[in-house]
Amino acid sequence: MYRRIQQPLHLLASRISRHCPRQRIRPFTSRSRRALDDDSSSAAAWKIAIVGSGPSGCYTGKYLLKSDAMANSQIDVLDRLPTPYGLVRNGVAPDHPEVKSVHHDFDSLFMKDGNEDNGQNLLNFYGNVTVGTDISLEELREIYDVVVLAYGCESVRPYDFIQNSKLEGILSAREFVSWYNGHVDYEWVGPLVEKALKRGSGQQQVVVIGHGNVALDCARILAKTREELDPTDIAARSLNIIDQQNRREISVIGRRGHVQAAFTIKEARELTRLDDANFVVRKDELDMGRTEASKQEINAARPRKRMEKLLTDAAAATSAMKNNTDDDDSQKKAAEVHLRFLLNPTSFETKDGSSLSHVTCERTRLVGDAGSQSAEGTGEMETIEAQLALVSIGYKGVAIPGTEEWYDDKRGILKNTHGLIEGSKEDLGGLYVSGWLKRGPSGIIGTNITDAKDTVASILHALKSSSPVDPKEGWKSIDETLKEKGINPVNWDGYRRIDAEERSPSRKRSELQPREKICSREEQLKAAFSS
């Protein structure tokens, strides 16, 4: 699979050094000297590209670096954004800073000033490079011995099965989340959210469709007060729009029952701890969901038992609250989050012909065996008023140009065996996949660890029986190739300049805010290339 022509390491190094910045030459560290002297155990000078700098790209890099076989290698991480870490920056909710702190671990993997000469192998960052557009996959595979695709999920599962899904006021959760997290491509979402919320006179109503953690993130962010959001890294552009001015009612709806819901208990519990929002769970909906099969599902797994208790308690609290507040308006809180079950959204409705006014849902019932119950329509309809709807039924991976033949459209993944993409062209570098693009959009950040280790094991296994690609006549390094194309990558130092500006006190709302993100690509690039 790999061409087997051994090239003396120092020759290769001098070749690379002509075109690469100083930091990228590795063969002169003490570790590689030793490797050169003792050629039987010398680690080869592999060149590896990782496409995507989210958790899966970073963990793949981390576990490659840990292998002795990589002691002399060059590992480059490319991302289409000028900033690294994927959904850690653009997905994980701003009020989960402790989840975002994983970026410290990732920071330590990358090349930085003063870190070059301690013999420690590090990753190189190439931000602002879109693979498939700026540089083709085939070109990458000419440059590198191994290319790992870890570019996550750039799209969502289609929701046009719900009628009128193009009405104004309907967004995917991915669009909404990217916007409140300051993703540079989602500025356009702001005016739409603002307009929708303004249409709710007196009371703003939002429907979130889906029962995963992303749906609960959206609901929670919408239910929090300015005081709760102020110390987070939520972008100012979004905070000013989300800020509660009116009463707000947020309904999170899903087709199946509470026992089948995909959200986890930490996120559900957070809804019970909001400063100025009530968490509403209906006892009758929990009862409807407790089929014999559901009871088996509850008993089979500890997380289900604990969730059952949490929601049962929440339903009891809801009834108690209702008795207290029915005749006392002053006890009402600014927001209410209704977690609704066994409701299937069938169509979005409009009164003015262009913007959303309500969502029509059909009541469902559960049918089938434990572990595979599905929702069946009962014919009973319910409408929920809403000016804004966020559809949160799943992120979805896409095929970038050059990957079409391995793309599984149903799952939104690239077909692979333990990360190896089989049947890719023999005369090019090996092709692998890691993370959400490998297994689909599920699991937590930690899930990408075992997943990355699995891909790394496949890579190391394959490399054991091959040698680095002998650069062909006219071979060009990544730096040269990008330069020729007029693409200016953001390297690690460039990213650190963006990072420093975002953290500077003059940008932040308060000392507590970790950073005020730069939300436009142009401004990020300006910061990255300033010196």
């Binding site: 402790e98 410290h104 671990d105 986890t264 930490k266 190896l420 950040i445 953290r503």
Partner: protein, 162 residues
């Protein structure tokens, strides 16, 4: 009743780490990677604990009394992740304790239980390594890191096509 008493004694000998998420650390703190957990002096008395690693190899290390299991692992280059840096916000430092040791520990708090619910390979005696501190009584114990699914492709097993 008996086990209850045991728990009470245990809570004295095996204090829990109460740590809430902190706000974002300074730039200096970032440069020097920061790990959550108590500061325990390098010359603190130690005991011996063994980590049974996912590849079934054992690693016996000196653990300072008062440190968390996560800190012990990191100091000894054991691949226990701790993605949230020891503040009970992920489940990557999941460890499986011997049942008698688990029983002797103070009950985990709700937040830890919530994170354990997301842990891969949860068992009856699972805890988060960042939430359990080393105590004298633990000398000689072995804790197990959950096994990852094996990469049969590499290990020689031919996967079934599907």
């Amino acid at each position: 009743m008996f086990s209850n008493r045991l728990r009470q004694t245990a809570s004295r000998i095996a204090p829990r780490l109460h740590q809430k998420s902190s706000s974002s650390p300074s730039a200096a703190a970032i440069a020097k990677r920061w790990h959550g957990g108590p500061h325990v002096a390098a010359d603190a008395p130690t005991i011996t604990v063994t980590f049974l690693q996912p590849d079934e190899t054992k690693k016996e290390v000196a653990a300072r009394i008062g440190e968390s299991f996560l800190q012990v692992a990191h100091r000894n280059d054991i691949d226990l992740e701790g993605a949230c840096e020891g503040v009970c916000a992920c489940s990557t430092c999941h460890l499986i304790f011997p049942m008698d040791v688990y029983d002797a520990l103070e009950y985990p708090e709700e937040d830890e239980e919530d994170m354990l619910d997301m842990a891969f390979g949860l068992t009856e005696s699972s805890r988060l390594g960042c939430q359990v501190l080393i105590s004298e009584e633990m000398d000689g114990i072995m804790v197990e890191m959950p096994k990852a699914t094996r990469n049969f492709y590499v290990d020689g097993h031919v996967p079934q096509p599907h």
